[in-house]
């Protein structure tokens, strides 16, 4: 076991075993052989912070609760510095002492449970099958069914339900097709010479139709059947006839012509 005074030399290896800041404080009080009712806050606060530093150096994950206790100890330290007036009378350490005493009782009971656990985990129950056993479903002790098991069971059932009923794939028939849209657009461009694309798109309320028209435009541009022009950003996009005359077959097959 390390002495608390040895902290400057190196961090004690037992650091990781403290289950919380109260546990660490109790350890320091025992090591210093001081009374829990009369804790030398100055010395204990310094040693506590020394432990924290050592824990950080060891890269142990110093939880927030350890830092919170450090802040409390600092607060107590500052309070102890103030001259005590007779009217106040209260010892600023009182709450800390009470919490340490309560925690010490917990540790005591935990240590009893530890010893009991050590012995009792060596007990084995018999595995003699009763005559009625075999092929029966597991049953639960109703007394032991709690909200958590109920919630877990519900989630399991719903998960099983979802697995047995996968959502249907939404394969809707296409209401617009690119070929038709290409043919319409192309003939319009040939007829009108200049077609304002954005105005056309805005006049359509069906998003599916808009998407179809955009794809059709891109196809026509790719095939050089039309050219698209935009003078400046966000301005209207004008379509005009391109340098390649598309025949109906090319339009139908999106440029792929046999032979």
């Amino acid at each position: 076991m390390n002495e608390v005074q040895d902290l400057s030399v190196g961090p004690p290896v037992e650091l990781a075993v403290f289950s919380g800041p109260l546990d660490l404080l109790l350890h320091l009080i025992r090591k210093n052989e001081v009374s829990i009712y009369d804790i030398p806050i100055f010395a204990i606060c310094d040693q506590y912070n020394g432990h924290l530093r050592a824990m950080q150096e060891l890269d142990l994950d110093v939880a927030g609760e350890f830092l919170w206790m450090a802040a409390w100890l600092l607060h107590l330290k500052s309070k102890m510095l103030l001259p005590q007036t007779a009217a106040e009378g209260e010892d600023p350490r009182e709450e800390l002492v009470e919490r340490l005493l309560a925690y010490r009782r917990v540790k005591e009971l935990a240590s009893f449970l530890h010893d009991s656990d050590l012995v009792r985990r060596g007990l084995w129950g018999p595995a003699v099958a009763p005559p009625t056993a075999g092929g029966e479903e597991t049953e639960l002790d109703w007394e032991e069914v709690d909200l958590r098991l109920l919630a877990q069971t519900y989630l399991d059932v719903m998960q099983r339900f979802a697995a047995a009923h996968p959502p249907p794939l939404a394969v809707l028939p296409l209401r617009f097709n690119v070929q038709d849209s290409m043919r319409d657009l192309y003939s319009r461009v040939l007829d009108e010479g200049l077609v304002p694309l954005l105005r056309h798109l805005h006049s359509r309320s069906d998003p599916e139709e808009v998407v179809t028209m955009i794809v059709a435009t891109l196809e026509l541009v790719r095939l050089r059947g039309v050219f698209a022009e935009q003078r400046r950003p966000f301005a209207e996009i004008y379509l005009r006839p391109g340098d390649h005359r598309l025949d109906p077959e090319e339009l139908l097959n999106r440029g792929v012509v046999n032979g």
């Binding site: 049953e139 639960l140 002790d141 877990q152 069971t153 989630l155 339900f161």
Partner: protein, 182 residues
Amino acid sequence: MDRAELTAALEAMLVTAGAPLSAAAAAEALGEPTLGAAEVGEVLEAIARAWDREDSGLRAEKVADGWRCVTPAQLDSYLRALHGVTARQRLSQPALEVLAIVAHRQPVTLPEINFIRGANSASVLRTLLERRLLRLAGRKKVVGKPFLYRTSKEFLIHFGLERAEDLPDPEELLKEESAAID
């Protein structure tokens, strides 16, 4: 290891084995170089003779691959009766599932429960009604007017709740505990 401890260890092995215990396996587990399968086999036979009394609830019977611990056949009726008694205080997995569905979706009808579970739950539902964990709560205004089911007062008392609305959302209950780890 003296004879008393050896007997105790072999008895413990017999009752916890769950399958026939061979003298060789027992000897190996004892780990005493001086105790071979033959010696262990003799002690097992002695145990079988000692158990074969009128006031004993255990028998050791020799089967092909070792010794098996069983209860005497003439006690079967008591053991079956015991199973029936304890079954009353227990809840089957299907019953727990129906209870969970009603608790978290109430009010709910039998067809809805059947649909979710993918199994007929009529008899389970009846048992839960008899045990007063569920109650009838009117009829649903759809074709056939099926009965609606809700959890009972006794259900709430068991789970320490005042109202059915206090039932935690199952996802949140299991999430909350892990989320609180900060």
